[in-house]
């Protein structure tokens, strides 16, 4: 009797797991598959599972829209710039917090934590108003500054955690050999923390790449990013499904690849060390 119960649980376990994997994965798989359907098939009912794959959605989205390539470029440049900048500044600050005891360290730590709580739709309007006063709306500089301000708190916190884990001996040896504190940081600690830096950097890249609200409001015609380009296919009157799915797939696939490569450190980043282990 116990054996039957155990077998039942065994099967049930796999079934539930399978159901959830399907649930989680299916919408994305559906997105990719549908993007290769001819537009007429989008509205067929029942939905067609067998169809002639076509690239017409991609052709229309990429070549039919004069704003696609600029959007792609802007998204990429923005994400790379923001990532580089926040990782560098965040590493410096994280290192200082991890290795030194100094006045104001605690306050700084609290401020960084607070800055992680704040961002979001809440601050769009003040950011918009402020940047408008500075004349920075619709500029790459304005967007870069905005995204960096979100990423800095996160980067500092992540790097703080990573640097704490590095043994001090190597840096101390370098210091004894005559290196400056900055040398010990830049030449010893920083290279050793590359796995953590990569994980952090990829997470920042992904957020910047996916970010929509601020790009929509603060960005202008000259600084359109991919999410905005995507959303431009939804108007009050109609939805341009074909283009939508093609662009969405283009947005999603590179991120998938990046995410899988960093998934081990992802949980740690998301919980900022609140969960031990």
């Amino acid at each position: 009797m116990k054996a039957i119960l155990r077998q039942f649980f065994f099967v049930a376990k796999y079934l539930i797991l399978f159901a959830f994997i399907l649930f989680s994965l299916f919408p994305i798989a559906w997105l990719v598959v549908t993007s290769f359907k001819p537009e007429s098939d989008f509205f067929s009912f029942p939905p067609s599972f067998i169809f002639h794959p076509t690239l017409e959605n991609y052709r229309r989205a990429i070549f039919g829209s004069p704003t696609f390539f600029p959007s792609l470029m802007h998204s990429f440049v923005l994400a790379v710039t923001v990532t580089l900048f926040s990782v560098l500044v965040g590493s410096a600050a994280g290192y200082a917090l991890a290795r030194f005891r100094f006045k104001g360290a605690k306050t700084l730590g609290v401020l960084i934590l607070l800055s992680r709580l704040v961002p979001g739709a809440v601050m769009v309007i003040p950011y918009f108003a402020l940047l408008r006063t500075l004349g920075l709306t619709g500029s790459m500089l304005g967007l870069t500054m905005t995204y960096t301000s979100f990423a800095l708190g996160f980067c500092s916190w992540m790097m703080y955690g990573f640097f704490l884990e590095l043994p001090r001996e190597l840096e101390e040896a370098a210091l004894i050999d005559g290196a400056s504190y900055y040398g010990a940081f830049w030449r010893i600690a920083f290279p050793l923390a590359i796995p953590g830096i990569t994980a952090t950097g990829i997470l920042v890249f992904i957020s910047s790449w996916n970010e929509f609200l601020y790009a929509l409001i603060i960005g202008g015609a000259k600084t359109r990013t991919l999410p905005v380009e995507l959303a431009s296919n939804i108007t009050d009157r109609s939805v341009n499904w074909g283009n939508l799915f093609a662009i969405a797939t283009i947005m999603v696939v590179p991120i998938f690849i990046l995410t899988i490569s960093v998934q081990r450190n992802l949980v740690r980043g998301l919980t900022a060390g609140a969960v031990k282990g």
């Binding site: 376990k13 797991l17 959830f20 994997i21 989680s24 994965l25 919408p27 994305i28 559906w30 989008f42 509205f43 067929s44 009912f45 029942p46 410096a92 200082a96 030194f100 360290a105 700084l108 709580l117 979001g120 739709a121 809440v122 601050m123 769009v124 309007i125 003040p126 950011y127 918009f128 108003a129 402020l130 006063t133 500054m145 905005t146 301000s149 800095l152 900055y182 996916n210 929509f212 609200l213 995507l230 959303a231 499904w241 939508l244 799915f245 947005m251 999603v252 991120i255 998938f256 995410t259 899988i260 998934q263 992802l266 949980v267 998301l270 919980t271 609140a274 969960v275 031990k276 282990g277």
Partner: protein, 298 residues
């Protein structure tokens, strides 16, 4: 000894300040200033006609206006229902998945990697996919229902279904995150506890109730905090799936702030709404953090 700039920069006590100064400067200018400006903005009057002039200070009138604003009150109600429904569902399902993932089975690492993927998709794209799936005429859900001989559901057309659609989409997005964090929490529970419990003859349900769940309190609190604050701030889902409709019945708070600010161009009022959202978020965060400290002290 030569006293020069580089001398000061290299003194041990100064190094941390040098290292953190870029961060402090940037955070100060890019974060603090907008915060202060938004406080000022929420206390002023700046209609579209007078955009070229400076905003006029009017005190707390915007905030008083919020108390009587029917649309705002109903969006507050919806955001509340949205949060209080989606979060428990996400956590319970996440816990279930985490419990299953915590056992050993072939392909476990692969499954874990698969679960990470929904986190990487932007909320906007997610909203669009679900908008397509929820479509009454050619959406996948109604097709599946038809296969089981269930009548098609007006997902995006008739209350309460639009609200349910948003909740469903939110659960889809946040559940993998919950599962992963709870899994990490589960994995930090030492094996010996389970072993000694089994030695004393405890069955699965007892182990769950007396060992696993109490020890999972910190991760559950962390996950609750993050999902609740995410739900309160939710904007992209309302924007991409329902556009706040039908008839403004699915306007989350952030979405309303966006409408007020950028469709009606009433920036000061939108700013005061934003501050209200922030205040709620801070309050919720403080409550959760207090709970977390209590657990840690024990």
């Amino acid at each position: 000894m030569k006293i020069s700039l580089s001398y000061f920069m290299n003194r041990r006590s100064f190094v941390p300040y040098v290292l953190t100064s870029p961060l402090v400067l940037l955070l100060f200018f890019i974060t603090l200033v907008p915060v202060l400006y938004s406080i000022f903005l929420s206390l002023s009057y700046w209609p579209l006609e007078k955009l070229r002039e400076a905003p006029k200070f009017i005190g707390f009138d915007n905030y008083f206006r919020m108390l009587h604003d029917q649309r705002l009150i109903s969006s507050l109600k919806f955001t509340f229902i949205f949060t209080m429904t989606s979060v428990p569902i996400e956590i319970i399902i996440g816990l279930l998945v985490a419990l299953i993932l915590n056992t050993n089975f072939p392909g476990r690492k692969l499954v874990r990697s698969i679960f990470v993927l929904p986190l990487a998709v932007s909320m906007l794209v997610t909203g669009l996919i679900w908008r397509y799936i929820f479509n009454y005429d050619y959406g996948l859900l109604n097709f599946l229902l038809g296969v089981f001989h269930v009548a098609p559901v007006p997902w995006l057309i008739q209350s309460p279904w639009p609200q349910i659609s948003l909740i469903l989409a939110e659960v889809w997005i946040q559940m993998p995150f919950c599962a992963l964090v709870l899994l990490a929490g589960l994995q930090s529970i030492p094996e010996e506890l389970y072993e000694s419990a089994k030695l004393e003859g405890a069955g699965g349900a007892k182990i769950l109730r007396f060992i696993t769940l109490p020890l999972l309190k910190p991760p559950i609190l962390v996950v609750s905090l993050i999902t609740v604050t995410n739900a309160i701030r939710s904007f992209e889902l309302a924007y991409s799936i329902t556009g706040g409709g039908p008839m403004q019945s699915t306007e989350t708070f952030s979405f309303l702030a966006y409408q007020v600010g950028f469709r009606y161009f009433d920036l000061p009022y939108a700013a005061s709404i934003s501050w209200f959202i922030l205040a709620i978020n801070l309050l919720v965060s403080l409550i959760f953090m207090k709970k977390m400290y209590v657990v840690e002290e024990r």
